[in-house]
Symmetry: C2
Subunit: 509 residues, 2 copies
């Protein structure tokens, strides 16, 4: 099924597929919908009541799901913050957009302040594409795609920013290693632990409240200006050191981590309420998800829950990359739906473009596809049947390295679904199939297609780290699966049926 | 707070607290509500969509929760079928009602066909008390409180029975060890695998459909007779060997176990629909729960999911005893509620009596209390504040053995909440507090009060069993917690905070 043919858009703006939103806005035609992406930091699949968290302290997110569509099979593009966020905004795997490392075989990449890299100029990011189409764009919270001037989010399509380029680790020594700066647009307005205090002892910080106000203010301004908006709300209260403002501290049965979740849940409720009060609910597509699985290494006080799944952040087991995901768009998405569409955070790139009436860039490989058939018609798209959304020459566009899969010949002993993830030889334009790919660095660790997941490599973390108490899988130990040496299984992959065994406890072989 | 004072009943039948239902029925007064208890077999907390099962294949149970009240903190009285069911029907711990063993230290008790024991005549069971109060009573499915003639459910208060006295293990050799019989009332109408086929190879059996029809028929008959009813629907399709009827076989993403869950979910939907069609919804209290945690030893093809909890059936970790629980009673229980009441399957005994306007027996210790304050007013009752519901002499009524707790002096190093579970010395009538108690046989393994759980003993199963591949905690291994030797911690209990750490992975000490 060709995606272009499958994209279904609500009545009243079907033409947007052909004409850019900017043009239509100028003509006074119906606006494309606003897009509000709520991206959590280290929040796990199991942290929401609707996903089975026993304390059930997320009434607003649970209501969002009841009024919208829940995705139980939704994945990040990497089990770590930076590459996952780069993938969301570029629609491309970290190995294509440059956010991967090759150090220590299969480690993940991120951008702490010691690292000078960031998102390449050549990447075409979602805010930039939407801005060209007439959207007002804002990022609130954590950027994490590079902290040097050339990587500033306002150079990559955002009109506004309130937040920081990095994690809120600290406090640091001011001279040798300064605290992470906080920006308002181009201007640095302070630093974490200084002008923007975080009390690591008590966990108190009002940052989520600031981020909430920034969001509400932006929404109100765009409504007044009658301009379509793209708001990327990337809060970080659930990333260690977790924090919450005073009214929420101590309010959760789950401790400080739960306090942070409760404050975020409350904030999401306030944003959805504002959309309803302003009459924007039916013209705003809202999607909630997280950048990677809960950081079990910080649990229980500073880390969340991955529910029934194996391990957490940093790993390519389900706990590292399966994410909570909720779509909300009253009168467009029917309430109370559950979609078993195998979804990826990279799909939000293509979906957002489709909502704006735009096609994805054609000069490069895009790994996400549009979720609109799932969202609007309840259709399931088989990722194995998707054509490559790239035209022209058969070689990958620079700077995208080839997927390492291409260097590996298909193994005859792989089960049939996994044969589909190899490039079809000789076809022109060549088709590339997009299952859920689990990378660490430049190593393809595992693949999910349909209900089956195959691990080509297993690794939690090194014995050395593990012996120091760093544990990505506390309480979980599956012989031959949760390995502390890097184990290769490409000749005989470890295969799990995720429907029967979502916890990856019983290898089929 | 005295429970009698706390019991709140809907308007129109408050008087029932004082006068028996039978008397009122005779007088033409408003009837007490019908009671429908849906008791699952080895179904786990994590098996329902509303509790986070990823495939979300229980739309009817999820809707039941959305229209009623969900209990995330609800417990069985034992991690095995027979004692749990005996506790439900007697309102008493297995160690009081006789359903415990002392073999092999801390093993659980059940009644396979080799065992000649059963529920003592001296126990006053719920069907018997409700029948005296004018209720029509029926059990559909598994009795499991003794298979010899004197233990027949119609001798213990049930008017009708369709089902079997035991698990549907088999097929057996007909002579040395016959297949388990199936009864219709007093009459044996066939045997499993013979007149009531179960194909252990394909998993096909139409037993759930028979049990559904028995339930629907009974409800219709009582509605026609205008008689209040107590229906105990104790189906067993989710107990290994799991089965489903042909239309449901292969219908689940989860395999055969999921097929069984889907058929039960569909059946529950049909029962609730019938209540609505007959105009009985507002006069029927429905409660759904399970007898013990999912049997992970049979997972993934024949066992379910305990979600984020540790281990499963047979153990006193949360996975062994925390249960899915949903109450439904339109216009009495407000829709969409979540109650964090620490609840027990034994509370269903006292709650059902309260609904019928009855007080629990006063000649013996009753371990359950009424959930009506939670159900009707959203109140939380602190189990530590409950008085003993027994009057008169200070010695336990025969045949209740004393709780072994009484043989153990309180330890000064126990955290404060756990001191509350000892009997107050010298008071007359002596008070007995009822936290959640986790027994194996006659050994108190653990106690939960509020958010804290203390393990006095830990044990999964023996090394000998474990080495044979019998694993109650597949994929889970927590040093010093999931032990294969029986480890005593009474002098320094292993304490967990279940709010912050529902998976019992991080002992506080």
């Amino acid at each position: 099924m060709a995606m272009e043919a499958a994209v279904v858009v609500p009545r009243g703006w079907r033409l947007l597929l052909l004409v850019s939103a900017a043009g239509l806005v100028a003509l006074g035609a119906p606006q494309p919908p606003n897009i509000l992406l709520l991206l959590m930091d280290d929040m796990g699949w199991g942290d929401l009541g609707v996903y089975g968290e026993p304390s059930r302290e997320t009434p607003n997110l649970d209501r969002m799901a009841a009024e919208g569509m829940l995705f139980p099979n939704f994945y990040s593009a990497n089990p770590l913050c930076s590459p996952s966020r780069a993938a969301l905004l570029s629609g491309r795997l970290p190995i294509r957009n440059g956010f991967y490392t090759t150090n220590a075989h299969a480690r993940n990449a991120y951008t702490p302040q010691e690292i000078v890299g960031g998102i390449p100029d050549s990447e075409r990011l979602l805010p930039s594409l939407l801005k060209e189409a007439g959207y007002a764009t804002k990022i609130v919270g954590k950027w994490h795609l590079g902290h040097r001037p050339q990587f500033h989010p306002l150079k990559h399509g955002f009109d506004e920013w309130f937040g920081s380029p990095n994690c809120h680790f600290g406090p640091y020594d001011n001279k040798a290693k300064p605290n992470i700066p906080v920006y308002k647009d181009w201007e640095m307005v302070g630093r974490f632990y200084e002008e923007f205090p975080i009390n690591v002892k008590t966990g108190e910080s009002n940052l989520t409240q600031i981020y909430l106000q920034e969001a509400l203010d932006f929404i109100k301004r765009q409504q007044a200006a009658r301009r379509p908006f793209f708001l990327y709300w990337a809060v970080d209260a659930t990333h260690a050191p977790v924090y919450a403002s005073r009214p929420f501290l101590g309010s959760s049965q789950r401790g400080r981590y739960g306090d942070a979740v409760r404050e975020i849940d409350d904030s999401v409720g306030k944003m959805l309420s504002l959309l309803q009060v302003l009459g924007l609910a039916e013209s705003t597509f809202v999607f909630f998800t997280s950048d990677n699985g809960a950081a079990l290494v910080s649990a229980p006080s500073q880390g969340g829950s991955n529910g029934p799944f194996l391990c957490g952040k940093q790993t390519t087991f389900e706990g590292g990359m399966r994410e909570p995901a909720i779509a909300w768009w009253p009168r467009h998405i029917p309430p109370g739906q559950v979609s078993h569409q195998l979804g990826s955070i990279m799909d939000l790139f293509t979906t957002s473009l489709a909502l704006a009436g735009l096609k994805p860039p054609r000069d490069r490989v895009i790994d996400g596809f549009s979720l609109l058939p799932a969202l609007l018609q309840g259709q399931l798209t088989d990722r194995a049947q998707l054509p490559l959304r790239r035209e022209g020459a058969g070689h990958p566009a620079s700077p995208s390295p080839a997927l390492p899969l291409r260097d590996q010949a298909p193994q005859p002993h792989l089960p049939p679904p996994f044969l589909l993830c190899w490039e079809s030889p000789g076809a022109e334009p060549r088709t590339w199939h997009t299952p859920i790919l689990y990378y660490r660095g430049n190593t393809l660790m595992a693949v999910t297609l349909g209900q089956h997941k195959a691990h080509f490599w297993t690794w939690t973390n090194s014995w050395e780290e593990f012996r120091q108490g760093i544990n990505f899988c506390p309480g979980q130990n599956i012989s031959g699966v949760t390995t502390h040496t890097q184990e290769e299984h490409t000749k005989l992959p470890l295969v799990f049926h995720l429907g029967r065994d979502p916890g990856e406890r019983f290898p089929l072989r």
